[in-house]
Subunit: 369 residues, 4 copies
Amino acid sequence: MTASSNEFPIPDRMRAWVLGGPEELVFTEKPVPQPGPAEVLVRIDAVAICATDLEIISHGVPAKIGGGLPFNKNFTPGHEYMGTVVKLGPTVDEYGIGERVTVEVHAGCGRCERCRQGMYTSCLNYGEPQKGHRANGFTTDGGFAQYAVNHVNTLVHVPDDMTDEEATLVVTAGTSMYGLDVLGGLIAGEGVVVSGPGPIGLLGVAVAKALGADPVILTGTRDARLELGKRLGADHVVNIRREDPVAAVRRLTAGRGVHFVVECSGAPEAMNQSAQMVNRGGRICLAAFPHAPAEVDIAQIVRNNIYVYGIRGEGQSATHRAMALMKQKRFDAKLIHTHTFPLDQLPTALKYARERIEDAIKVVVKMPR
Amino acid sequence: MTASSNEFPIPDRMRAWVLGGPEELVFTEKPVPQPGPAEVLVRIDAVAICATDLEIISHGVPAKIGGGLPFNKNFTPGHEYMGTVVKLGPTVDEYGIGERVTVEVHAGCGRCERCRQGMYTSCLNYGEPQKGHRANGFTTDGGFAQYAVNHVNTLVHVPDDMTDEEATLVVTAGTSMYGLDVLGGLIAGEGVVVSGPGPIGLLGVAVAKALGADPVILTGTRDARLELGKRLGADHVVNIRREDPVAAVRRLTAGRGVHFVVECSGAPEAMNQSAQMVNRGGRICLAAFPHAPAEVDIAQIVRNNIYVYGIRGEGQSATHRAMALMKQKRFDAKLIHTHTFPLDQLPTALKYARERIEDAIKVVVKMPR
Amino acid sequence: MTASSNEFPIPDRMRAWVLGGPEELVFTEKPVPQPGPAEVLVRIDAVAICATDLEIISHGVPAKIGGGLPFNKNFTPGHEYMGTVVKLGPTVDEYGIGERVTVEVHAGCGRCERCRQGMYTSCLNYGEPQKGHRANGFTTDGGFAQYAVNHVNTLVHVPDDMTDEEATLVVTAGTSMYGLDVLGGLIAGEGVVVSGPGPIGLLGVAVAKALGADPVILTGTRDARLELGKRLGADHVVNIRREDPVAAVRRLTAGRGVHFVVECSGAPEAMNQSAQMVNRGGRICLAAFPHAPAEVDIAQIVRNNIYVYGIRGEGQSATHRAMALMKQKRFDAKLIHTHTFPLDQLPTALKYARERIEDAIKVVVKMPR
Amino acid sequence: MTASSNEFPIPDRMRAWVLGGPEELVFTEKPVPQPGPAEVLVRIDAVAICATDLEIISHGVPAKIGGGLPFNKNFTPGHEYMGTVVKLGPTVDEYGIGERVTVEVHAGCGRCERCRQGMYTSCLNYGEPQKGHRANGFTTDGGFAQYAVNHVNTLVHVPDDMTDEEATLVVTAGTSMYGLDVLGGLIAGEGVVVSGPGPIGLLGVAVAKALGADPVILTGTRDARLELGKRLGADHVVNIRREDPVAAVRRLTAGRGVHFVVECSGAPEAMNQSAQMVNRGGRICLAAFPHAPAEVDIAQIVRNNIYVYGIRGEGQSATHRAMALMKQKRFDAKLIHTHTFPLDQLPTALKYARERIEDAIKVVVKMPR
């Protein structure tokens, strides 16, 4: 019932990085997985490294839901990958062998209340693959390997003129897009602050500008990143080491504040600052979080009818919308790709990402071919 | 251009409570106000006391927006009133003289961006009556007087068989209704926790049950209030002095948590508890707030795709929906009305409300007639 | 991997009605089906007859999507059934053996764009069971048999104190509920017209009233049905043989019209009448349709900013909300149940339903036990 | 209380075109109007001609609501104008004297149920200026004159580098934008058909493409217009004289159809064709309408869960979003501007627009200065 092709011969075993204990990654061999119904086998061509990968490798999956920690379980991390469809599970006709695809993380179980509502990133069977849930690189095997299985829902076609490296950035852009989606979608001409110039924040700037937000204001601490934000579409940048970001936003908006904040910094004071940046009835998307509880002025939120949306990852098929913008070259996501290493040098790649060596932003691992 | 009737003769001056300095209320005389276009003059028949009245009298308007503090400005507080239309401003035909009406607080300016979106409780001209904004009892004169002016948008018809006292409770029920509205509306069969059995919480229970929520769980510290919650529709009540409310909610929902929390307690730990009571993708309405910043576990909100909605007062014409349920006797709001005093005994009424003398919940001031 | 119990022994073969050519139903034997992953086997206890069953038996599935007509395919119709879970497919723990359940029709494929949005009744793989889609009684085997397989998404628990017959009505009430959901949900105090007092219309009246709509106006041609509508909550009924329904609605609403129409008659003139019954910005749900194209005054829709929502069946898990109201006894759905026959007398039952013998409304087929 | 400036001296009387009987426009004098609270006086600099202007001049206001026909009432038509703020009504500080502004049509009354919901284009007091409603050029005086009064809600700032002519097109683009808004907003990567290459359709193509829709398909009968559609962003154009538009859309979308149709042709068959172009769950915006009732296959709408949104004009402040895109040069609206005449040659300008002389699309009338 599965379909494959001579053009893409599939070995029985593959090279893969496997997580032992915390921070113990071993480059080893394991069987090539098999796609089930509604699934395909993807030959991985490139993988980008996300800060969450570093977190998973060191501390485990953030949600700690279902199945516990990923250590010593023959688990392969890596969730920002792209590649080539090489085998189709039973009944699959949505994709064809040889097609280039990039992936998103969440395949909901399809059988819980949230999935039935279309809220698959809030799947109530998170971490229970036997019930159909997959979050590749989180709770099921991911992309630091030669092959991975993906549910068809988690694939996006890659256009011919897009490089492998750029295609790995689609899931990041999809998260940024989703953050703007939950804020309501109608952002043309509205003020948007993005706080934190990490990859999601930088592409948040790009997506907001592509959709016509005006002004787009980026706040952060590193001038190089802020400059990059300008190239991606920020109308204004604010280095919060030099100016209070709330005051700056008020200054840049003639005292009115903005309608929307996408909080990507995870700084402890960011929630309160966001609530002071928006005007009455404004909305805040929290796409990052501090490691410890933070002091929050709840009264500010209540008195001003502010709505706050926590998001984890890229829901509502936002990845497809992000790809649509990238395919139409509305912004140059490649600007955030800084380094490339071959698969066997993953530890070096992770080190570059973690320590921001040579101002690394997105570090990509390529499969030698 | 204004219309009045011999049946309701209107004096030039009226008796009114006027706020001097903090906590200085004086029963005095001032001119009867005149309704402008789209406004009517209401002869006040009854006024309920809200905790926010006590706050305003002691500390000023919570929002501190526009026009500053209300002290020594010839200001009359009181916002939960009802009465009889006795005079129509120019062009008014929406209401007729002699009709009984109850009121809601917010008349937006109608000319800012938020008002144009229908978000009049987030009016950007809050506190600027010259631009058309009114929040009677907050920023414009309220109901502890014989007469008040209301924009037609802030009126609701009172059915013949509803007492004056019950009609004063409509704005409270409207706030509860609005809290459920912002959570998305489709609550039949969904679990709802209401935390805090004050008037908004108790009527929140009543409205949630009237709309078919199941189970409705009320948490609080006072058994008498919790018992009242049961009579208003709570399926379960939890005295948080005796049981951890998060554990209780998990126990009562077979571990699943609820979809919605309406937070009406303003307790510092309520935000975190709410985030632990909802399941992934759950929603929290904050209808109260603590007096100081609170420690919030933001990661819990982000990881679980939780949305948090701050609300102040009763938007989206929720008061009309609340009245529709009350008119159809879907719940007995009168259960929260405990005491009645004549207008000239307002200080005693306020004391009962503030100190909860004789288990006072809603204390109503009636006009002698 | 499947689980069953000695308490509910399952035979290999079962009695089932099978559709040959149009209107050729044969009572025969066929194998008891097996539940797959996320599916259960339901022992059918009662089935209600829907007008669509008559349509399917005579003319085939209305949508004519996927797999073509159901004739001579060993197909068993019947979609409004309830029963007892007797076997669990692999991984199922959402339901337990021996639990009473009622069903809804649509299990989307879970892998198309619409299912991923939560719009499973708009599944783009409608009629392709190999891809996971099921519409029992439409494109997969239904309930005029002793057993049927259901995806867990299509089940609703039946409370102990609800009869089998009443439980078969939940899917009808769910359709009515869904019709109101798509209209926006906030209907307390708003005017709702339901046109057409068939089962969906009658329960539409009941659900609208349960949620606080006011007034609820039912239009139709048969006085007995209209009287029943009053017992289910209609504030006003209009016999359109005696009064023009548009004029009547205007009369009953002081000229203002209503906000919402749920069109359940399928009459050719209903679309235009609905558009004249709503006020500017009003909304119409089309839950029925005429057999031939109808003349529509599109200008009326455009000039007045009217929105029209076609719905087929019961989406957004509305069946759960309908059950929540029925469980809480907010209306008496049993009023529309008029006749009961044993399974082997299905042709008689269908005849009663088709010809409305003895004023039949809902005719139920019970399994002898 | 009103404010003016010596820089912009305002005469007592002005030149204005006034509508006598049908098609009787007279260039005459009348008093310069005075702005009231929340209003400004605009010195008109340019006006574009809309097909609805021709309709109003020949047949009256389409809605025929409130106040009846505009003939022989000293009425000045023209609603797509722009100009300079020259006088501020009482309390106005939202705009300053000398600022360039363009306008939108609808100022709701601010006191009916719809306005309070933010649905001001569905104002229930449409055509009742004494209650605050204004639709300049429809029910209140418009722009074929030297001056007009506008509510601040109906103004949009014009950037310095935008010509007067381009600024007159913002209200058209705003209507196109609103059409896409009501379809749900998230259109990046989704297929959109625009039927009818009139000004709203052509700018509908431009806005859809600017927001990332893909593919954008334009259907029509005139090749020159379709070519223009390509320059504005259409990925495909279909001349329906040469190819059946439904077949063409299926062909261009690999048989899947599109998610959204914006119907701008008003052709009698357009409703049915639209319903066949969308996939299940698709949405159709009707921004135009045929002059006579049309045959509609309602079953197609119901069976496929299609939603249909009638819109009249530009709601939800869409004009601001359209201006934001135009200001950021996301499309070149000027492409649809073909002819310019001075104010005193309005009849010639109207003739060009009506008869499409020299392929006229948007004909603009400029004020000599």
